[in-house]
């Protein structure tokens, strides 16, 4: 990846903090805006490549992207700076809200507010799932995998590892042989 100039860890920390703090309900669009449009650290062609790599790696996509970009810009210090920028301030905010919940969570208005927020949060996740599902091929095999994962983990409450060990190899094998 052709980086224009060497980016310092401090610049990385500041840039990734900004992205994280703009990102209510998803940081990814802000990562694109900051890295490609505003700072021009990446081209519009490089960003999807970096994103694709971050997505095939296990773990949180946006953090993998931060680590990868930080490492390429300034080595291990850069990776730590980018990841730190992505999570440090948001963690402080989330914990502050958590402490508020500990103190006031039992108050009836707070309880009701959280019930409403929880219902909306569940709805948002379903919307995300629907968006993701649009990319799944309308074939019997991928749809069966989707249903197996939902029923096994969501309805039957089987441990995820059991479901992954049983279902994932079949999915990868069939995808490898391009059967859908």
């Amino acid at each position: 990846m052709a980086l224009p100039t060497k980016i310092s860890p401090l610049q990385l920390f500041i840039a990734f903090s900004e992205m994280a703090l703009s990102g209510f309900g998803g940081v990814l669009p802000f990562a694109y805006r900051a890295l490609v449009e505003r700072r021009r650290w990446l081209s519009a062609e490089e960003f999807p490549k970096l994103l694709a790599l971050s997505q095939v790696m296990p773990g949180p996509t946006i953090c993998n992207l931060s680590v990868m970009f930080g490492y390429r810009s300034a080595g291990l210090t850069g990776a730590a700076a980018a990841l730190g920028g992505m999570i440090a301030v948001p963690i402080a905010i989330v914990l502050a809200l958590g402490i508020g919940y500990q103190h006031f969570g039992e108050l009836p208005p707070v309880r009701r507010a959280l019930a409403g927020m929880s219902a909306v949060a569940a709805g948002l996740i379903v919307a995300t799932a629907v968006k993701m599902a649009r990319t799944v091929p309308r074939r019997i095999f991928p749809i069966s995998l989707l249903m197996l994962a939902f029923v096994g983990v969501g309805l039957m409450r089987f441990p995820l590892i059991a479901v992954i060990v049983l279902v994932a190899p079949i999915g990868v094998l069939v995808a490898w042989r391009e059967r859908w």
Binding site: I87, R112, L160
Partner: protein, 185 residues
């Protein structure tokens, strides 16, 4: 902790298994982010270990959604509810460290390459499973809250609005809080 049943157990006896379980789950979160392993986190901390309630788990998720930053930080709050500061640190490090180590290893090996055929097969084969798991997350978060018809209606309405409009999700969360306060849920 709000009604934490784990308050009197020694902290390491909770933090150890919490760390180990979340670290394993971090490596299973492929293609759907940390959200896709949330059902198994909930199964572990609520159903299997009885450290927190389903309502607390859903609240942790909802609170993290109302804050800026990566949405994986609900994991920090779950850890904090389970075992205070040590739990928050353990849960956060467990979910971040294994993928970060793998990512750095991968970048060192290949500096500028698109995913190879095997990586693509893994991505493609796991994609439908990830989607199923994200649906499962929606389902368990919903069950964990107040699973009556009004909450169901609010959840479905939120999903519909987000799919049909460009409204920022944080406003939806705020609207959900308001709906709750005035007693619609």
């Amino acid at each position: 902790m709000v009604n934490s049943p784990s308050a009197d157990a020694p902290v390491w006896s909770i933090v150890g298994p919490l760390f180990a379980h979340f670290a394993v789950l971090s490596l299973m979160a492929i293609g759907g982010g940390v959200v896709m392993v949330a059902p198994d986190m909930q199964r572990f901390v609520v159903d299997a270990q009885h450290w927190i309630t389903a309502e607390q788990f859903s609240a942790a998720y909802a609170i993290a959604q109302a804050a800026p930053g990566p949405n994986l930080l609900f994991v920090t709050l779950v850890g904090w509810q389970v075992a205070g500061w040590a739990g928050a640190a353990a849960a956060t490090v467990a979910i971040l460290a294994p993928p970060t180590a793998l990512t750095i290893a991968m970048v060192r090996v290949s500096t500028n390459r698109a995913p190879g055929p095997l990586a693509r097969a893994v991505g493609k084969g796991l994609a439908p499973i990830s989607v199923g798991l994200v649906f499962a997350t929606g389902w368990i978060l919903f069950n964990g809250g107040s699973a009556d018809w009004r909450a169901a209606g609010l959840a479905l309405l939120a999903a519909f609005v987000v799919l049909r409009t460009k409204v920022n999700p944080v406003w939806m969360i705020a609207a959900g809080a308001a709906a709750g306060v005035v007693g619609l849920v």
